[in-house]
Each structure stands twice: as structure tokens, then as C-alpha cells.
């Protein structure tokens, strides 16, 4: 729990991320995502409760915990007069010699930071370039845990792809990733499991496949000719969304078998099923419907 004066920024957060997992931490602005990450890094002190990283208490044994972490903050504050190369050098030195020059070079290449970029002062960098530099800084010592706070914010689509590839490599290497994001498609793509924070409270935590399974599917039924309205007694797992003369749209929770059975004897021309999307579940939570 974290309280700032009267404001409770994070409450009722009980969460465990398994080693090697990519965990997506979702929530609206002000939900408490960044506060949680900053508590894990001991930048903020929890008002109550405790957290651990790979068995090390984040407060009592914070140095050991942070030695295992690569962090990419949401707001990046390099010294403006430093060159990119110097900034990476300083942060590499703080990793106590764990950074190999060839690894740093490889990461810079993958994030499209060439020598000319690295030799420029950071005040000349765009927001996207600063984020690319921060990504290299987070990955360069190959930490077993990555804490990424909205990592692709400000990156162009090409660089987002490059970043996802870095993430995929890290995951393949067994790195545990804790990633906060607003971008649902990104979370859907890269995460194994998600946690949803609403007003500082964890309202959902589940594997991403399970979340999709619980989401309703939209079924659009097109008839060869106009038909009478749908029957009054539909199975409870089906919800009518729209009814037109020759087209119905229904929302099916779970299997779509009951929809097919209910259409028996009707002149069905086409049946279109839209796969459940993470957005549907998450947006429902955002709106407080679940």
C-alpha cells in the first residue's frame, strides 16, 4: 500500500510474477502502475506491505534486489549535456562491470543508435531517441528482471518492432519482465499474463489466454431473406446486440454452440465470429462493469 497524504495511490495489491514470465501491468492514468514499479525499486517507500525481487526484499535488501533489475522509466531524465555514449557508460559503470562492450554495441545497432547519435549531447535527442537510449541502458547488463514503465511510448512503429524483438529475446533467455502499458495490442502481443489495476486496486490477474477465453465473442448472422425476430428464450450465455430484418448480431459468452443450435431451421446465409479481444475485457474493467 502507498499513501501520499490523503491519496491512496496503491491498495490491495497482492501479486506474484513467475520467473521467466512477461507480465503486463495495465491500468488507466493514475491507477498506480508507476507507483508500484517505483516501490519495487525502493524509489518510493510503501506505507504498508512488502515486495520482493527474486527473493530479495525490495526495501530491507534493496541493493541486492536492484542489482538484478534493468529499469526503463516512463520519464527519462538524462543529463542534457552528456552524450548518449557517456550516459550509457555511466549507467554501465553502475552495473559494476556487468556490461560487455559488444553487447552494448549490438543493442545500439538494434535500436538504430549509430555512432553519430551516441556522440551527440542528449539535449539534441528527440523523445523517441531518449527512449531508445533508455532501452539500451535497461537491457545492456542482461539483468534477470526487467521493469519497464510504458516502454514503447514515443517510439515509432519500426522501433516498436525492434523493441518487441529485444523483449522476445530476453524472454527466450529466461528474463522475467514486468511491463506497464496503456497499449492493449502490445500487451496482447508480448505478455503471458496480465494484471489490471484500477484506482490502486488489483481487479484482475490472469493468463492472457484465459482472459481472452472469458471475453465474449461477437457473432454476426446474415440470413438469405428477412426473418422474424429472435426467440424470446435464448440461452443465458447469449446476449442480443442488434437485430435487423436479415441480420442479427449477438454476443456469445463461452462456446458458440448455443447460438448455432438456436439458429436451427432459419435460412442462415453466413455466420461471422469475431475472436475475443483483450480490449473487450480490459475496457469493461476500466468502465467498472466487472
Amino acid at each position: 500500500m502507498k499513501r501520499f497524504g490523503r491519496l491512496v495511490a496503491v491498495r490491495a495489491l497482492d501479486l506474484q510474477v513467475e520467473p521467466g514470465q512477461v507480465f503486463g501491468f495495465l491500468g488507466q492514468n493514475g491507477a498506480g502502475k508507476t507507483t508500484t514499479i517505483r516501490m519495487l525499486l525502493d524509489l518510493l517507500r510503501p506505507t504498508a506491505g512488502r515486495a520482493e525481487i527474486l527473493g530479495h526484499d525490495c526495501q530491507a535488501d534493496g541493493l541486492a534486489a536492484r542489482a538484478l533489475v534493468g529499469y526503463m522509466p516512463g520519464e527519462i531524465g538524462f543529463y542534457r549535456d552528456m552524450t548518449g555514449r557517456r550516459a550509457l557508460g555511466v549507467l554501465a559503470e553502475l552495473a559494476r562491470g556487468a556490461v560487455r562492450a559488444d553487447r552494448q554495441r549490438e543493442l545500439c545497432e538494434r535500436m538504430a543508435l549509430d555512432d553519430a547519435d551516441l556522440d551527440r549531447p542528449i539535449r539534441e535527442y528527440s523523445t523517441g531517441m531518449k527512449r531508445k537510449l533508455a532501452a539500451v541502458a535497461a537491457f545492456q547488463h542482461d539483468p534477470p528482471v526487467l521493469l519497464l514503465d510504458e516502454p514503447t511510448e514515443g517510439l515509432d512503429p519500426l522501433m516498436q518492432e525492434a523493441f518487441y524483438e529485444l523483449l522476445a529475446d530476453a524472454r527466450a533467455g529466461g528474463t522475467t519482465v514486468f511491463l506497464s502499458s496503456h497499449v492493449l495490442s502490445e500487451v496482447d502481443r508480448v505478455c503471458d499474463r496480465i494484471g489490471l489495476l484500477r484506482a490502486g486496486e488489483l481487479v484482475l490477474t490472469a493468463p492472457i489466454g484465459e482472459v481472452r477465453r472469458t471475453a465474449p465473442r461477437l457473432v454476426r448472422v446474415t440470413f438469405r431473406r428477412p426473418v422474424a425476430g429472435p426467440p424470446s428464450a435464448w440461452p443465458p450465455s447469449i446476449e442480443i446486440v442488434e437485430v435487423a430484418a436479415a441480420r442479427w448480431i449477438v454476443r456469445a459468452y463461452g462456446s458458440i454452440g448455443p447460438v448455432v443450435e438456436s439458429l436451427g431451421g432459419l435460412p442462415v446465409a453466413d455466420l461471422e465470429v469475431r475472436e475475443p479481444r483483450l480490449e473487450d475485457v480490459v475496457m469493461a474493467y476500466y468502465r467498472g462493469q466487472q
Binding site: 517505483r38 525499486l41 525502493d42 524509489l43 518510493l44 517507500r45 541493493l63 541486492a64 536492484r66 542489482a67 533489475v69 529499469y71 522509466p73 520519464e75 527519462i76 531524465g77 538524462f78 543529463y79 549507467l91 553502475l94 552495473a95 559494476r96 533508455a134 541502458a137 521493469l147
Partner: protein
């Protein structure tokens, strides 16, 4: 800081040059003659010591503008941690296996070392000025006087460094920390000056670090005031310790 050190060192050379010219023209006695008796009585032997070659040479160590510049420099260094918290650089550094105390230690080393470099540059400027333009007939000040002046000035800067560091360790914005420390320095400097002419302010002046810094007493030959030095260094050390404590416990 290097620019400040070079400028203040060069200023010391210029002061020696000015002192030589004043002495060559016999101006010290003429200026003293122009000062009304009540003012002489008010300032006492300090005034006579000011109107001498060592007094002018020492001007760089007690002139309000120079002391203000040096205190400003110290405040700028001491509030750097607040700046790093504000910009987010502290997040990048302290998200690594770096103890928070390291940020304070770095600032203290920079403060103590930086202030020492600047006052050492001033002392070197003084020695260079004496060697370059000091007239043979002048009663050249002893080397020990120059070092005592420099050390006393360093103690004042160390004291303000500690105070500013404690303020900076608690602040979220550097401008707020710097303006708080700067306002405190200006107010306490004013109180100290006021107390020299207005008795009721003398009690309050004891709270001012500048009360414990009297370089002209050194010029007239008094020994290094160890009590005053202890107050300045003790305050600096205590506030630096407070800065460690505050920075270790705060939310960044």
C-alpha cells in the same frame, strides 16, 4: 567552478596590484585621514587594518560580493540532488545497486573539494600577486595569514554547503531548494551586518554562520578562532548528516 576559481584567483592578483598602487601613492594614510573620528571609533583597529596592504589584499576573502558568489556556488552544488530528483536522473541511478548515501557522499566530496579548489586558487592568486607586483617595501603578509584567510573562508563555505545539502536532500525541485538556501544566506548575512551596528540584532546574529567568520581579525594579527571554526565545521557536519538521513528516508 573552474571558471570561478580562475576568476577569483585573477581577482586576487588585481587586488595586490591595487594595494601596491595605493601604498605607492601613500593613499592609505590619506583615506584614513578622510574618515570622521566617530567612524574610526566605531570600526576600531579593523579600519586601520583594512587601510593597509594586507587589508586590501585580504579584501577578496571578506568582500560581500565575493562571499555571496562563493556561497551561491556552494548552493548550486549542494542542490544538485534535488535537481536529479526533479529531472528523473536520480531514478536512473538509484534503480541500480547504488545506495542513496552514495549520492550524498558524492555531493559532499564535490562541495568540500570544489570549495577547497576555489579558495586554494584564491590563495595561489594572492601568492602570485605578491610575487608579481608586491613592492619590496611593503609589509608583505605572512604566508600563514593567506592560508588562515583561505581556511576560514572554506569553513564558511563548508557550513553553507551542509545547510544547503540538507535543504536540497528534502526538496523535490532544485529551484525551490536553491531559493530557500539563497534566501536564508542573504537574510543571515544581513542579520550579521546589522548586528555590527545595532545591538538588539546581536542575539539573532549568533544564528548566522557569518557571525563566526571575521577575517579582519586575522589581518590585525589575532589567532585563528578555533571556537568559531568548530561552530562552522560542526554545523556543516551536522547538517550534512541530516541530509544523509533525510535523503535515505524520503520518497524520490
Amino acid at each position: 567552478m573552474a571558471i570561478a576559481a580562475a576568476a577569483l584567483g585573477a581577482f586576487q592578483v588585481l587586488l595586490c596590484l591595487a594595494a601596491r598602487e595605493l601604498q605607492r601613492e601613500g593613499m592609505f594614510q590619506q583615506i584614513l585621514g578622510l574618515i570622521p573620528p566617530f567612524a574610526r571609533e566605531l570600526f576600531g583597529p579593523v579600519l586601520v587594518s583594512m587601510m593597509s596592504f594586507p587589508g586590501i589584499m585580504a579584501l577578496g576573502y571578506y568582500h560581500v560580493a565575493i562571499v555571496a558568489v562563493l556561497v551561491g556556488l556552494v548552493i548550486a552544488i549542494a542542490t544538485e540532488p534535488a535537481g536529479e530528483v526533479e529531472t528523473g536522473f536520480a531514478d536512473l541511478v538509484l534503480a541500480r545497486a547504488v545506495p542513496r548515501g552514495a549520492v550524498m557522499t558524492r555531493s559532499i566530496v564535490l562541495l568540500a573539494g570544489g570549495a577547497a579548489c576555489v579558495v586554494a586558487a584564491m590563495a595561489v592568486g594572492t601568492f602570485f600577486g605578491l610575487w608579481l607586483v608586491g613592492p619590496a617595501e611593503a609589509s608583505k603578509p605572512a604566508s600563514s595569514l593567506v592560508w588562515k584567510l583561505a581556511f576560514s573562508l572554506w569553513c564558511v563555505l563548508a557550513c553553507w554547503g551542509g545547510v544547503s545539502l540538507a535543504i536540497g536532500a528534502a526538496a523535490r525541485r532544485r529551484a525551490v531548494a536553491a531559493s530557500m538556501a539563497g534566501s536564508a544566506a542573504a537574510a543571515l548575512m544581513l542579520v550579521d551586518y546589522l548586528a555590527r551596528f545595532w545591538k538588539p540584532a546581536r542575539g539573532a546574529a549568533r544564528l548566522s554562520p557569518f557571525h563566526y567568520y571575521n577575517p579582519l581579525d586575522l589581518v590585525i594579527g589575532k589567532p585563528l578562532p578555533l571556537g568559531d571554526i568548530a561552530v562552522l565545521l560542526g554545523t556543516g557536519a551536522a547538517t550534512a548528516a541530516l541530509a544523509y538521513l533525510v535523503f535515505a528516508r524520503r520518497d524520490l
